[in-house]
């Protein structure tokens, strides 16, 4: 039953990602006015329904596990996708910029796909970790990741728009993507949000180790170091922007580098290095 629900969620996310990408692929203005509204509507409703299904799945999974599911890749990637969609939906609510979905929804879909491929796996969570610290710590971190992925999406939007403006002839033919200033500004806000959430997540994580005495805080933990590198990249970006005018194109590139850092922290460390954070 729960597996079937998950399969449905997966398929809805697949459809939503395809339609989100399609809406971006439409480049001529006449197509844009005729079919894009339909495609966008399907994509957006798909996203909303997918999100509802995913929330339901996570809740049911939580209930069957008896604790906040964050032990295995299944749990973590599903939650990752959930966080990405949540941040995306909030941004759409605030800015009406659905185009962002074309960049973040495929990421969410891939996360769910990974999750689904591990779907039957569960792992026992050690007793000392079963508490609200885990919930707070991981939620904050994943929302931070999601905000960074949104910033990455805005970065790509910026670069696409800039390329169009420099190519000149078709600069005005498409009105899907917002102005350079808008992409840049929203990307920056997402970055700030991400940094705040990540900082809070790290603080909660370190307090947590203080709280449970028998898990010693290890500075040399691969995940901790990698997270701090990621944190530093984004903080540096904010600083450079404030003091040297590093916005626009440079900010877009930094958002992409940051995205790679996030992926390395999230996936890479687990696969190649040993860490107390490893998902089994």
């Amino acid at each position: 039953m729960i597996n079937f629900l998950f399969l449905v969620t997966l398929l809805i996310y697949l459809a939503a990602s395809i339609f989100q990408t399609l809406s971006l692929a439409i480049s001529s203005r006449s197509e844009a006015v005729v079919i894009r509204p339909t495609i966008e509507r399907i994509a957006f409703w798909g996203t909303g329904i997918g999100f509802a299904f995913l929330s339901l799945f996570i809740t049911l999974w939580w209930l069957t596990q008896g604790h906040f599911p964050m032990t295995h890749w299944t749990d973590s990637t599903a939650f990752f996708a959930w966080a990405i969609t949540l941040i995306y939906l909030i941004i759409v609510r605030l800015t009406h910029l659905r185009a962002l979905g074309s960049f973040v929804m495929p990421v969410a879909f891939i996360a769910i796909l990974i999750s689904y491929s591990f779907a039957t796996h569960t792992a026992a969570l050690p007793k000392p970790l079963q508490n609200y610290w885990l919930l707070a710590h991981t939620t904050l971190i994943f929302l931070a990741y999601a905000a960074f992925i949104a910033a990455f999406g805005f970065g790509l939007m910026y670069l696409m728009t800039e390329r169009k403006i420099r190519r000149k002839t078709d600069a005005l033919l498409d009105n899907l993507l917002p102005s350079l200033g808008t992409s840049d500004g929203l990307g920056y806000r997402c970055t700030i949000l991400g940094v705040i959430l990540l900082t809070m997540g790290v603080i909660v994580g370190s307090l947590w180790t203080q709280y449970i005495r028998d898990v010693p805080w290890r500075w040399l933990d691969a995940k901790v170091i990698s997270t701090l590198v990621t944190w530093f990249i984004y903080v540096a970006q904010i600083g450079l922007r404030q003091f040297w005018g590093w916005h626009g194109r440079r900010a877009a590139y930094t958002a992409i580098i940051g995205f790679v850092a996030v992926l390395c922290t999230y996936v890479g460390v687990d696969l190649f290095l040993d860490s107390m954070h490893t998902y089994r």
Binding site: K164, K168, G181, G185, W244
Partner: protein, 433 residues
Amino acid sequence: MNQIVSIGTSHHVAPIEFREKLAFSEAQIVESLQHFRESDQVQEAVILSTCNRVEVYAVANAVRNAEAAAKILAEFLSHYHQISAESLKKWTYLHHNLETIRHLFRVTTSLDSMVVGESQILGQVKAAYDASREASGVGTILNRLFTKAFSVGKRIRSETTIAAGAVSISYAAVELAKKIFNTLEGKTVAIVGAGEMSELTAKHLVANGVSNVIVANRTYERAVKIAEKFNGTPVAYDSDLGFLIDADIVISSTDAPDYLIKRRPLADIMRKRKHRYMFLIDIAVPRDIEPDVSKIDHAFLYNIDDLEAVVASNLKDRQQEATRAEQIVTEEAKRFYDQLQIFQVNPTIKALHQQFREIADTELQACVYKTTLSDQQEAAIASMTQAIVKKLLHHPMQNLRCAVNDGDADHGQYVQALQELFALDVTDDNSDM
């Protein structure tokens, strides 16, 4: 039957010398509508008179056919404006019924305009319609026709992009600026040199939110003079480009033989302004801005050719869209015409039904009065009479509706025959429709 006709002239068929002779002033429109009302030849009329076209739309019902109705309009114009019948014939077009509807839809949706997609004409048609309504020149049919024309206009605007995309250089510049900046509010435009085009572009930018204007010129007096027009700040030109430090948009159109804005000094300026976006528009020939400037981060350079290419691609796009819009117009005109036909035979159908039903009711009452019937029997007879009425009318009505739907021109004669044969009193009151 009602005939919808129009006579008109436009920039497509007639030179300005003729159009101005045919033009109506507001007072003349009122006077003409009054004339129509009194003459009793034309029941409804709308007169549209703009600088590009003069058109009269009318409904006449006391005529044999559309040609006769059109003749009334032609004679009126010829008489009113003292124009010979020959030149009227040469420079005007006549439309009947379906063609009139299609023409009005094309006019309202700007498909017949000089620049396809322009928005002015819709307002002009609305004004003409309102003027006629105030002068009680509009009845049921033109009321429906014009209301439909406006909704077709709306549909075309939402389903096609004939009105999208700048088709002039100055508007293209504004749209490009909007692609770069989050908002134009609070932005500063610098005009370097002088010229009609640059001032027009600056004017559009200001109208779209740009708040500061800087005017740079080699001669300071000249700068002061232009700055006055925009309530702007005059500055003296210097080759270090220091005056550009606050400029978000630069419009350059000097007659200088060499580049005025070069890459190296501009790169310094960009650094000083913390790489805030700068949109540079070079409309001078020979060019004022070194092309390499576009290699600077966040500096976007468009020269006159680039802008013209943008405009050309927008025009091409509008042209493609116009084909689609034409299809919609044709389809809507046909549908409206069919509805109108049904709408016009409806009173006759209604009257015929009513007559039959009344006869049946009277006879039923007489029958019930004479005999003693149980309630059940009475009900049975009542429903039988209703069924007979329905069945008797079934074929004639179906065939009449078919004739209307097939666009059969004879249906007018059918209607007339029905009215005469059954002595129907059909008032032209269509208010229930």
